[in-house]
């Protein structure tokens, strides 16, 4: 499970329209990682993880960068179990973000 702090994202309003495509691309990454993991081909996982590491924080999703870093390290050391763990973390995180984005906005002291 994710803590509220981990789920808190700070997205620049100027790029809000780019976020759905960014998250959609991470879902495709998750499927591709799963395929490579089953096939035992780890080099493409290193590349995917490297991109995730670089991209997540730039979009305001530092957790995606952190998962990318874990996954890259696991793929470099050919550790299939750690890769599978990272993949699971990525999927649950994406599902949580999707759920949070589809929920009505919460009123805070600032927005009231």
């Amino acid at each position: 499970m994710w803590t509220l702090t981990e789920l808190r994202v700070s997205v620049d309003p100027d790029i809000i329209d780019l976020v759905p495509a960014f998250l959609g691309a991470r879902e495709l990454d998750a499927s591709a990682i799963e395929g490579h993991l089953s096939a035992g081909t780890y080099a493409p996982i290193v590349r995917i993880a490297h991109r995730m590491k670089g991209g997540g924080g730039s979009y305001g999703f530092p957790v995606i960068s952190a998962i990318g870093l874990e996954l890259e390290r696991a793929a470099h050391s050919c550790d299939a179990r750690r890769m599978a763990d990272s993949l699971m973390r990525l999927r649950t995180y994406l599902a949580s973000v999707k759920e949070a984005l589809s929920a009505p906005p919460v009123q805070t002291a600032e927005t009231k």
Partner: protein, 178 residues
């Protein structure tokens, strides 16, 4: 209203979502952006002189950012190049390329420092081009050739060039010693 007349930037980035993000940031700064999605296309475009600034990732398919910065600096030395990487450690050749570039950023990028660096590099390059143009005009007037030879046409020469213009008589031109 956003105007994109500050200049044109070549962005060589193979990650589509990173390219879209950086493009958006640069457009908000007033630049137009041309995206090349691999190193081969990036290198071909970087060798042309039509871009005001080049931004390239280090890890690219076909040609790497190292080649792009090398060629760009060899053929257009005054044009700024900014390198990007998601790697926390650099190889020796990557470090050399980073030293050759005008700026170097590690991803994830933060909008404000990244855009500040691009704007600063662009303004600085414009200043250098303006100095070079002044020296060329000066040379056409018959006095600039000496000044240009002394100056090396670098952006640090704004004051000496002004000094020459103020105090030299073009008909009896003798560059001051500085």
């Amino acid at each position: 209203m956003i105007t994109n007349d500050k200049g044109c930037i070549l962005l060589v980035e193979d990650s589509d979502d990173q390219a879209r993000l950086i493009e958006r940031w640069l457009q908000r700064c007033g630049f137009s952006v041309h995206i090349a999605s691999d190193g081969a296309l990036g290198l071909e475009l970087a060798r042309r002189g039509e871009f005001d600034l080049v931004i390239a990732g280090i890890d690219l398919p076909f040609y790497r950012g190292i080649e792009i910065v090398g060629w760009s600096k060899a053929e257009h030395p005054s044009r700024p190049v900014l390198l990007l990487t998601a790697s926390s450690s650099l190889s020796e050749s990557e470090q050399r390329a980073a030293n050759m570039a005008d700026a170097f950023f590690t991803k994830p990028l933060k909008r404000a420092p990244f855009c500040d660096a691009v704007l600063h590099l662009h303004t600085d390059a414009l200043g250098r081009r303006s100095d070079a143009a002044s020296l060329r005009e000066f040379a056409d007037a018959g006095v600039g050739a000496e000044a240009g030879r002394h100056s090396g046409v670098t952006h640090t020469l704004r004051v000496p060039v002004g000094y020459v213009i103020s105090f030299c008589d073009a008909s009896t031109a003798r560059p001051p010693t500085w």
